[in-house]
């Protein structure tokens, strides 16, 4: 097991290095750079930036260096000093920018995830056990509708309903008077009163999808011989269901649970923009538009790191859950 872990961590580092290089390369691919974006913005406002100032700025940001030199400056700072560089646009260190928003993104995602699990597992199990019952048809209908409706449209509809019928703005996570306030009980309550809507909107498609997955996985297991064996022992039906087929049907779930990790930080970009939520999604989106390359690169690097760590966690979770996988790791 120890050797297996060591090999996995080594592979992870190599993967991350490759990802960082490719990411940085892709960011540089579009024509122009941050300075040319600035110039375009200035021209739109009717201002002119002198060529001397442009050259000075390029020199300051190191934009005239070759790609490899820029990459090396960036990655060596991360590796040796833990410094992700400064954002051009915000003129602040990338790390403080990101961490500011990570908290809320994380909170929002975890709330959504818990809601999705709490709703979809029971419904999925019910739907499989009572296949083709009226309840199953209702769940199936909801499942397909939930998966088919784009989230941003749901968000728009909810906002419209909020404004039209309740005279209340549905966007944001805080009321205007709390946005810049320090944390206190009032702000927390305000957060909760705003939170349910984005949680609901973001969660709906995930809930619908997970209901379908849980149902399909459980239906695969429900009529296997080992379930009949357990029934023949005299186990009551619900206990039997949870101990045997449900447990088996969760294996595919555990094999993907780690992939949720990057999602916890990245936030739902489109929904966040529509609902103007202060999460990380819109930040990344804006930075990509303005070619704020250290911010984008570092952000994607962090997400990639979380993805590979998540995959490892998934594999470990699956090994913990399923003895067959565990034994095969111990053998290797």
């Amino acid at each position: 097991m120890g050797r297996y872990m060591l090999r996995r961590v080594g592979l992870m580092l190599v993967t991350l290095l490759a990802i960082s290089f490719v990411t940085f390369w892709i960011i540089q691919l579009p024509p122009g750079d941050y300075v040319s974006t600035l110039v375009a913005q200035a021209e739109a406002r009717g201002e002119v930036i002198s060529p001397e100032r442009m050259a000075a700025m390029r020199a300051r940001y190191g934009l005239d260096d070759s790609f490899l030199v820029q990459y090396w400056n960036w990655i060596s700072n991360i590796i040796f000093r833990g410094d992700f560089g400064d954002s051009f646009a915000w003129n602040r260190p990338v790390s403080t920018l990101i961490w500011d928003r990570v908290g809320l993104s994380f909170f929002l995602s975890v709330s959504t995830l818990l809601m999705v699990w709490a709703i979809s597992f029971p419904i999925g199990i019910y739907s499989a056990v009572k296949q083709y019952s009226p309840g199953d048809y209702v769940a199936t209908f909801f499942g397909f509708v939930g998966m088919a409706i784009p989230e941003f449209m749901l968000a728009l509809v909810f906002m419209w309903i909020g404004v039209k019928y309740f005279g209340q703005s549905a966007g944001g996570l805080f009321s205007p008077e709390y946005v810049d306030a320090a944390w206190n009980i009032g702000k927390l309550m305000d957060l909760f009163s705003h939170l349910w809507l984005p949680v609901l909107i973001i969660g709906i498609s995930g809930t619908a999808g997970l209901i379908r997955i849980t149902r399909a996985n459980l239906l695969d297991e429900l009529y296997k011989p080992y379930v009949i064996t357990a029934r023949a022992k005299g186990l009551p039906e619900w206990k039997l269901l949870l101990k045997y087929p449900v447990r088996m049907s969760l294996s595919p779930f555990f094999s993907t649970v780690g992939w949720l990790l990057p999602g916890l930080i990245s936030g739902e970009t489109i929904i966040s923009i529509v609902l103007s939520l202060p999460t990380t999604g819109p930040l990344l989106y804006g930075a990509t538009l303005s070619q704020d390359m250290y911010l984008v690169g570092s952000f994607i690097l962090i997400l990639s790191a979380l993805t590979v760590v998540g995959t490892l966690l998934s594999d470990l979770a699956l090994a913990w859950w399923d003895p067959r996988i565990r034994r095969s790791y111990q053998g290797s």
Binding site: P225, A230, A232, G234, P236, M248, R327
Partner: protein
């Protein structure tokens, strides 16, 4: 591992013909309600098993023998449905402590009720499982009647240790602690011939061979000293050597515990090795029933005769060809009227066999046959 002894002839067992029934199945019907129509898998099977008796139920694939066996403990999965009949078993003792462990998560009921028997034909001291409370059924499952299935590879849960799976049965039915149940699981594994049971008790099924898994299944079935063991093709998925070992094991366990066995098989050899009596099934019906030696020596039903003729015998002259049973099992939606076997029968009489289902005829020795050919003898 147990020594294999296959060539040894079965010693004639002396059976107590007055022993009480441990199972009395009456006119059980099980249907599969499919989209294209209803298939009757079991069409009114009546069978009895006495204490200590071994009954073999034989028949071709698809004749309903497995479904019949599963109907006894109501283990038929959708779309199968038991639509009629009675399954009488001795009333199980219900200990309130262990009954609690078998109670459902949402059940608030205090104690199960034994249904009041109004049927005048009802056997005394017995309860009809098909009409009783699910709790009575759960008290019988695994405790009084237990089952061994065909597929040892998939019949055990892959993610639970075999010891825990055995101990679970014990904990469900007997007021013992977890440690005691574990000790008994080890003892059971030893009894079914698994080497180093103290170690194997913590093994997962995928770490064991097919034969060992079937031994574990048998240990699980024996966990609460059942009155009746229903073995549904217990050796079909195993190689020939392992088959012989498992049969040998069943035989020695039966002689040791005195339990009754109902063995479902398509293999007449298996039936011959183990059984005291035999029921031959064809398309959901028992067509012949009787003492094993009697049926093998003097088969009555044309189907039984054809089956026996299709099996090679020692000493049979070399040039002789085996005779297969003529024709094919009819499609379930296209059953012949009257006697379902008449299409394949060499003695079918037009105007008689195709008109009405054949009568059940019983001679003085209890040899039963469902065929018009013997009507004249009476």
């Amino acid at each position: 591992m147990q020594q294999t002894r296959t060539s040894e002839p079965t010693g004639r067992r002396v059976l107590d013909t007055d022993a009480p029934y441990v199972l009395d199945v009456r006119d059980v019907r099980t249907e599969f309600q499919l989209e294209d129509g209803v298939v009757g898998a079991v069409e009114g099977v009546t069978l009895q098993v006495r204490r200590g008796e071994t009954l073999a139920v034989v028949g071709e694939s698809g004749c309903g023998k497995s479904v019949m066996a599963r109907s006894i403990l109501q283990l038929v999965d959708r779309p199968g449905k038991i639509v009629g009949g009675q399954v009488w078993v001795p009333v199980p003792p219900i200990d309130p402590e262990t009954a609690k462990r078998r109670r459902g998560l949402f059940s608030r009921k205090k104690a199960p009720t034994i249904p009041v028997v109004t049927d005048p034909d009802a056997p005394e001291g017995m309860v009809d499982l098909l009409a009783s409370d699910p709790e009575i059924l759960r008290a019988v499952r695994g405790k009084r009647i237990s089952m061994v299935f065909q597929e040892p590879m998939t019949s055990l849960s892959a993610v639970h240790k075999v010891g825990d799976q055995i101990a679970e049965t014990i904990l469900l039915h007997e007021p013992v602690t977890t440690e005691d149940a574990r000790k008994r699981a080890i003892e059971l594994l030893r009894r079914v011939g698994i080497a180093a049971p103290e170690k194997r008790v913590d093994a997962y099924p995928f770490e064991l061979s097919g034969g060992m898994r079937q031994r574990v299944m048998i240990a699980m079935a024996l966990a609460c000293d059942p009155e009746l063991l229903i073995a549904d093709e217990p050796t079909t998925a195993l190689d020939v050597t392992t088959q012989a070992q498992i049969l040998e094991l069943l035989k020695s366990l039966r002689d040791e515990t005195g339990m009754a066995i109902m063995i479902i098989t398509h293999d007449l050899g298996v039936a011959a090795q183990l059984a005291d009596s035999i029921a031959v099934m064809y398309l959901g019906n028992v067509v012949e029933y009787g003492d094993l030696a009697e049926v093998f020596r003097h088969p009555k039903h044309p189907y039984t005769r054809a089956l026996l003729a299709s099996v090679p015998k020692l000493g049979q002259s070399r040039g002789r060809r085996l005779e297969p049973v003529r024709g094919m099992v009819p499609h379930p939606f296209a059953r012949p009227s009257g006697c379902t076997f008449r299409d394949r029968c060499d003695f079918a009489q037009i105007g008689r066999c195709d008109v009405a289902p054949p009568p059940l005829l019983r001679d003085d020795d209890g040899h039963e046959v469902r065929c018009v050919l013997y009507e004249e003898e009476r």
